[in-house]
């Protein structure tokens, strides 16, 4: 699978003290392009996703492939808590908790009628979304698209299930196929056995972001089950 990343944006919550994140630049979330009456409804998850999507897409009506392992889990967990105590559900929280809410809001705010996908595929969500993005580009459904991945740290009551480091983060990439003679990335599955404690690994989305920021020629992206070689081929 070969693709070009024209530009990208990464946001991580500033208060997180996790080794490996030092190379990622901190930026304030900028949602000045969203009207205040719409901005007030956005959760922290939605805000970080919209920030990165807008940074990369600007006003261009590009298709978006949205990826998240858990979606807006703090919001979903709040709804589940309300159900447990037989409290009434907030209509706004319910409506904005669905997996495609972030891209739905993004399309509405930008009057963007391009195709929007929302994908969840465990701790390999961003890899599956890259494959889906490549398929859409390769079959010429679009010439360029935005891939956005966002996840928040698991709420306290779910942290016993954590199998990787928990980081509030969002990453957006502008993807297209390479033109002849142009530099590009390739991603290939590889055999790789990690000796590290996989619970101490960064999510693949952040491994990918760090490779982009550092312009690393070859990076192994891996989790507890699988590994991929991300290679930059200079033009």
């Amino acid at each position: 699978m070969e693709f070009v990343v024209d530009n990208f944006s990464v946001w991580i919550a500033p208060e997180q003290q996790i080794s490996g994140l030092e190379s990622l630049p901190y930026q304030d979330i900028d949602l000045s392009w969203v009207a205040p009456m719409q901005r007030r409804r956005l959760s922290p998850f939605m805000k970080m996703a919209l920030h990165c999507m807008h940074k990369v897409a600007g006003e261009q009506p590009l298709a978006v492939n949205f990826s998240s392992r858990h979606g807006d889990l703090p919001k979903t967990a709040g709804l589940l808590d309300a159900i447990c105590i037989q409290d009434a559900l907030s209509p706004t929280a319910f409506g904005l908790s669905v997996h495609n809410a972030a891209v739905g809001i993004f399309s509405i705010l930008n009057n963007n009628t391009a195709a929007m996908n929302a994908i969840a595929c465990g701790n390999e969500s961003i890899i599956s979304t890259l494959f889906d993005s490549y398929a859409r580009l390769y079959t010429q459904q679009c010439e360029q698209l935005i891939l956005c991945h966002a996840d928040r740290a698991l709420p306290v009551e779910y942290q016993c299930f954590a199998d990787e480091l928990q980081v509030d983060h969002s990453v957006a990439l502008s993807l297209r196929l390479a033109k002849p003679g142009e530099g590009y990335f390739s991603l290939q599955p590889i055999e790789f056995e990690s000796t590290e404690d996989t619970k101490q690994l960064l999510p693949i989305s952040l491994q990918f972001a760090i490779a982009l920021v550092n312009k690393t020629p070859e990076t192994i992206l891996f989790n507890s089950q699988d590994a991929w070689m991300l290679t930059f081929h200079a033009g």
Partner: protein
Amino acid sequence: MSELKNKIKLLIISSLDLEDMTVADIENDQPLFVDGLGLDSIDALELGLAIKKEFNVKIDANSEQTKAHFASVDALAEFIENNRS
């Protein structure tokens, strides 16, 4: 009644996350929806839920009169005063 109206205004601000707005910014007779405060149909659902929880008032979503009860803080206060248990 004015205490109730202030409570309603605070509830509107908190339940609808109205950033940068205070009780003083909402007039008692100001329309809450569309041209007035600018609230929309999702806000109506959210506000209905908040009023039900806070004042133990039953709101009939299918009633034609419900729209009139939600017209302004004045109308809401009168409705709550007459219906809370």
